[in-house]
Symmetry: C2
Subunit: 348 residues, 2 copies
């Protein structure tokens, strides 16, 4: 945050709206930072108030990741764009075996955005950051004219530290390895979809949006030789498994009956003709480990609240085509291709 | 970059356009990354292809910064949104005394954006990163529907390392210190303005967009006890000086006749009723040092191509009001307030 100065009347956070002055870098920007961002994200690094935050040295390799968030609508059952922006970046660090430490947050605001919306989202980010034990140390705010953005976009970047000995990589997967998933699939995408004007529906489906670094730490303790973890967000399980195959030069075989999918999710997907394999998750991970490590790793995952429904869903195969194949519940086999086209736009 | 896979026909980078599939996280996203981002940003960390990049340990404090870029139009004399996105974040790190190391880049694209535009911007980013000696190690791409964004927004975040002994902070400024600026003011803002449909004009004014870490390193070598540096971007010199006053609890007095402003800039500002003190710079910095260090520091700045026109423009004063005052060329005095309102929207 480059500014941290308030002057004159306080912002009317109940009825006021963002205007172009809030992105100009002058008094109004400073006031927005002082009255909205700084109190919510309150930490010593952000409070430095220089053009950058400077944090103590860290012992270990540096992990870095970024995610843009353009989810529509901004609020959905189980979270909002703010929780998503924090947890999404925390998870990208966590699945690399990193301990997430610091986030930056860049806000692109549309002129006319109610302060109330921004305050609510910023509150969610602050809460998610507290829950995840990370600090939002740097930020920026730009405002574009009405009609040049859609309410609010947030881009977070994150920095973490990777403890010695941890060597996770998509390329590590070997034929014979076990493929695990940490819980029920496809809930985030459907929770967002349920709120869409054009395709809204009533359901009990809630986004699984959550920070996974606690689970990943527990997994690495139980299984230090873990090959890799990935979080199957956009593109879902199906696409992420294809990415692993491509990266490691292997194939994957999964069993449909092993996939943790709730009946409500299955029903909505059938009704709308959606494949749960390609629906985004925001609080789930895929892990690959040696087959002999799998039972202990599943136990360790189930011992964590966010891994309670962990399951082994298949194994890595030796396949020169790099195909993901699924044994269907009816005894047949189906190819699980890369996601083609656009299943659900602006899901995260 | 989460994806790095191309399949089937290559993208038609001459005539093709971004569609929603390029943001879906599936095959089309992977192809966009493989054919546009990966070849341009080519480096070992990005090539890891996991959900995060993992870099070697660094020895020193960690600096972090972020900037959203929404400049309109995307291209202007002296640069484009891509050069701005890289140099802006590099400079935010550099003025903290950090050596910039790694950047992340988040792209929010509007459906219908010509690939040609994206390729040109990405090429500029790659070139700027090479020039600045930083690596773009992580990225994300989202696509929003036509009319929900304005072509292309880029949010960069950066990580750097601060060498031992460097302690720069806006709060360090002390009454009696010298205030220096590294060169001619207000060029970036006017260069962008000259391209606006509504207010376009012919001029020879070129954006000063540049990476300042080479200059800052040279300055720190010449003057290790430097108090602070800031880059006067949005809000310009006038606003940045007010920020320093607020942070350090001091005042500042500057001399109008010492301000490096080119005649062309002065002329355009007079014609449009703009105050060059509040126009954005993208390749300039303000430095504050002990008065006795000022001559040597100015010499060191002038020895660097980006500090050739460095000048001492004033000094820190003891002022309980925290005012920035300017001795005008006519012998009077004028208050230089915080920027009020919006001078030029979407200038960076």
């Amino acid at each position: 945050m480059k500014h941290h100065f308030s002057h004159g009347h306080r912002l009317d956070l109940k009825h006021g709206r963002i205007d172009l002055t809030h992105g100009a870098g002058g008094r109004a920007t400073a006031q927005l930072v002082a009255e909205v961002f700084a109190p919510a994200f309150d930490n010593a690094w952000l409070a430095q108030g220089n053009d950058q935050a400077i944090m103590p040295p860290v012992a270990g390799r540096i992990a870095m990741s970024t995610d843009c968030h353009v989810v529509a609508p901004l609020f959905f059952p189980g979270g909002d764009i703010g929780t998503l922006a924090v947890n999404g970046t925390v998870n990208d660090l966590a699945v690399g075996g990193a301990q997430p430490l610091y986030l930056s947050a860049g806000f692109i605001l549309e002129e006319g955005l109610p302060f109330e919306t921004l305050v609510r989202v910023v509150g969610s980010m602050a809460q998610a950051a507290r829950d995840a034990g990370v600090q939002i140390v740097a930020g920026d705010t730009k405002v574009v004219e009405r009609g040049k953005a859609d309410g609010l976009f947030i881009t977070t970047a994150g920095v973490g530290v990777v403890p010695p000995g941890i060597e996770l990589d998509g390329a590590n997967a070997q034929p014979g390895d076990a493929v695990l998933v940490s819980g029920y699939l496809a809930e985030h995408g459907l929770a967002v979809l349920s709120q869409r004007d054009d395709l809204g529906f009533d359901s009990c489906i809630v986004s699984d949006c959550a920070a996974l670094h606690g689970l990943t730490a527990q997994m690495l303790e139980a299984c230090p030789s873990l090959r890799l973890m990935r979080d199957p967000t956009r593109g879902g399980l199906g696409n992420t498994l294809n990415e692993i195959c491509h990266q490691a030069g292997v194939g994957i075989r999964i069993r449909e009956e092993s996939l943790p999918i709730r009946p409500a999710v299955r029903a909505v997907c059938e009704f709308y003709g959606l494949d749960p394999l390609y629906i985004a998750n925001e609080g789930k991970l895929i892990a690959v480990c040696a087959m002999t490590d799998a039972p202990a790793l599943v136990d360790a995952m189930r011992a964590h609240p966010l891994g309670r429904d962990a399951a082994q869903i298949g194994e890595i195969t030796d396949d020169p085509h790099g195909f993901v194949r699924m044994q269907t519940s009816f005894g047949g086999e189906r190819l699980v291709d890369w996601l083609n086209g656009e299943v659900l736009p602006r899901i995260c």
